[in-house]
Symmetry: D2
């Protein structure tokens, strides 16, 4: 098969785009800490006047907490206002579409802030009263922690067999890395299992769905009113989320090989998936 | 299971929304012609100052041709500028993402206008020269007519086994009605078959993907700059496209029972799919 | 749509078949206890010389324990030798295909008897030593109890990312009833989730796969050497397992409405699934 | 990942098994003709008293025609009685399960022999009279040739929307090679598309489903009454059919690298799929 890409230096390709969207984990940092050279790269981009946003499939933390975490690792100048989480798009949906009732959720108490922030009452799945299911206005998959899989997934399935309410998934990732070699089931896997056994379709947030890209673009438009997707470079380490979503939204896309996609298998994965980034770079530090 | 909806009159629910998006087939007209009362409803909405757009999963016709067709059936006052087709979102993608090369397509010559309109050269799959595949910059599924399924799908599959280029699908509908009782395979079915046998992911346009909603909102924003999804009522006859997509985008949604979803099975289909419209109406004429 | 079935009395249709295979849960008993009239029906079938087997998607109990349980509920004359479990077909596979090594499993200690019965060593997933993965000869999904979903599914996924060994699923059921209204995830759901996130294919046992039918036929052939699938009536309450598998194996099939498939939705489910039983009966007691 | 196989010589591994099942295309021959050394290997196996069967996913030709074709290429001593086609298992199903009515089919006139051989009347989909659908007793997907995809797939879908009859698929292969580089859609792809748009489950024949293995074993049992799956070596070139099905049925499996699975990607495909052959050989000639 004919290959269409060569390896580029990130600094070279970033020049042409006034706006740059970064995925966080695997791009800015990984399990070892910050990607070497990432701080210098971000400084240089800021100085040259680029608009920067971080788009992360995560509903476990608020943008403020995500900013703190990046600062803790050494990337100190990304304000919460430049971080778009899939939790924030979920909150936006809940605000628009759920007018009343409690939102029953799977996740940590921290993740429930996205429900409370929408002006709604959050209740863990384990505390739902089956005698009062008419109180439930929506069900949300927020995080893979904060509940007991042995019990609470069955509760959720039985609630949904009785209740016809919107179901939202705040993160469609299937797995996330826990060490260099190990992974754990992410929220998207559990939601997919529930969809499959129930035969239903849930409303899903997080890349590759395009709401986060739109929220990022709307945020940049406050400073750069004429911005359009063609002005933006989406930088990510995952073909099925960052690159597929970025391509679909009409942005330029750069795959970095510092995270999920490894240098030795990048070409094969691109060929096999048919998801083709405009650029491939070793990392944003190079 | 607890049911959450009652049957509403379309006139009553439309009042609360300054912007109304309509699907076309099954909503404005069906195989018998215009939906009874549809012209009067549209007149009334215009007079009360509503912003109207028609969003149709169709790349077989340009917006101008779609407007002519509605006029032919008797709905004369919908201008092409208020019609958003999935072909138009596809054209937009091709403009942004395909810089050079020919776009090989499955579809009619008319559907290829969406390629040409993006400033690119269109070539039917059947005319692709296997000795010069490096000329091909993208592959597009546009329409279910205009080619020979016996030959051209195999050609397309063999081209994609050799070429690593973006593949776009201009309409993800699986079937479309041809008479009251009969259906035919739509473009989305053929694209899905190709994805499945190749193990790849294509870039897809048309509801429920949200690009058309965004294009509709951007178009309304020229006249109503502060418009947001919560201002919009999406009216459709199909749960998996109009209602799922509308809900995901954060718009209010109304299911009409004049097309794909029949009155006798609506409740069951809503329960079974978990795709829940905010309103259900017999038709836009009632 | 044209309907092809009428409701039959079980006694009438059983007459024509010298061999009858029964599913257990939903057919012989349900959450309330034995199906009314089931004991009398079985007595009558025995007296008229029918060959009887019970085929159950279950690896949680041995055939002897399954026989005891039926006896406890009041059906005393079904010997263990007439009960075929999906655990038994799994054990058969392990005997034939896994020559050495430990079999790491998800399930209860009781379910592990199917591994030990194959002459192999069983080790719970939670006790696998990641430093000695070369000891592992196969991985088995046996039961939905006996392990901690929060921890052990991730362990299993990380083992399979490192080890290239056969993976067997002893029961492909997705859900099982726990009360009249409630269900719980069965082994097949958890296995499917693991297949999905790993992108692999496991070896699966239990109806609709045909190994259990073959094991049932082989068992009957000891007494009735010329038996062929056309001699057998498969009686079940679930379209996707009992009826689909029975049809595929070439047996006559009878759907009973005393379990998973309810009288009010039977016709719709048959139409929707395209899985068509030869007969439909209220229960085996009628 | 730990690899479990080394490359073996076919002659060495065949010794231990009294019965050998071969796939045909990719194993005995490929697009260039007979695999070098295949005739000598078969002679040697015959002389040492092995029981041989050829199991081919094919309903386009009768066993007699398949034998002629092998003879034409130079393999002259495989009688029709030793060839098991997926068409033959389909015919067996039709005999057992379809008592009356015409069987409407997609395929060539030659493939329809499998319907006629079951004592039933065959009618091409294109000749079905929509006014007399109650004559139709079953629908069969037999071959990818002999009909017009542009018209007949839509006819078939509309027939199945009106008729509740068994649907059988005589070959679940998705693609077949037409030259060294090119493929064409096989019957299984078309059937899968119809299943998907209709939301139904068809009855499927051909490897990896185990009916063909059972038919092969039953045929060998006439000469070797005690034969069991553990006595058999299944030799194939395709992981998802020959090896997955052979493993599931409890036979030993040997992957040959002379067909669908290429030497350079074999290890990766085994790892990625989790379908693990007991042996890997360059070809049956080596």
């Amino acid at each position: 098969m004919r290959s269409k890409y060569t390896i580029s230096q990130f600094a070279d390709i970033a020049e042409a785009y006034p706006v740059i969207f970064f995925d966080s984990y695997g791009v800015l940092r990984n399990h070892r800490g910050l990607i070497p050279g990432a701080v210098e790269t971000m400084d240089r981009l800021r100085k040259s006047g680029k608009h920067i946003r971080v788009l992360t499939n995560n509903a476990a933390r608020s943008p403020a907490m995500a900013a703190e975490r990046l600062a803790y690792y050494g990337m100190k100048d990304i304000p919460a206002s430049e971080i778009i989480t899939s939790g924030a798009t979920t909150r936006h949906f809940l605000e628009q579409k759920v007018k009343h009732g409690k939102v029953a959720y799977l996740g940590t108490a921290t993740s429930a802030e996205y429900i409370i922030g929408a002006g709604l009452e959050a209740i863990p799945i384990s505390e739902v009263d089956f005698e009062r299911l008419d109180e439930i206005g929506a069900v949300a998959f927020l995080d893979d922690e904060g509940y007991d899989m042995n019990v609470d997934i069955n509760l959720l399935i039985n609630i949904l067999r009785r209740c016809q309410v919107p179901v939202v998934v705040a993160n469609t990732d299937l797995l996330y890395p826990t060490t260099a070699n190990d992974v754990a089931l992410a929220t998207g896997s559990v939601a997919r299992l529930a969809e499959y056994v129930l035969g239903r379709k849930f409303v899903k947030f997080g890349k590759p769905a395009t709401q986060m890209f739109q929220m990022g673009l709307d945020s940049v438009a406050l400073d750069m009113p004429e911005v359009c997707p063609g002005d933006i470079l989406m930088v990510g380490d995952t073909l099925h989320t960052d690159i597929l979503g970025g391509n679909t939204y009409g942005m330029a896309t750069a795959l970095v090989l510092s995270g999920n996609t490894r240098p030795e298998s990048a070409e094969l994965e691109i060929e096999a998936s048919g998801i083709i980034p405009d650029y491939v770079c070793p990392s944003i530090g190079q």
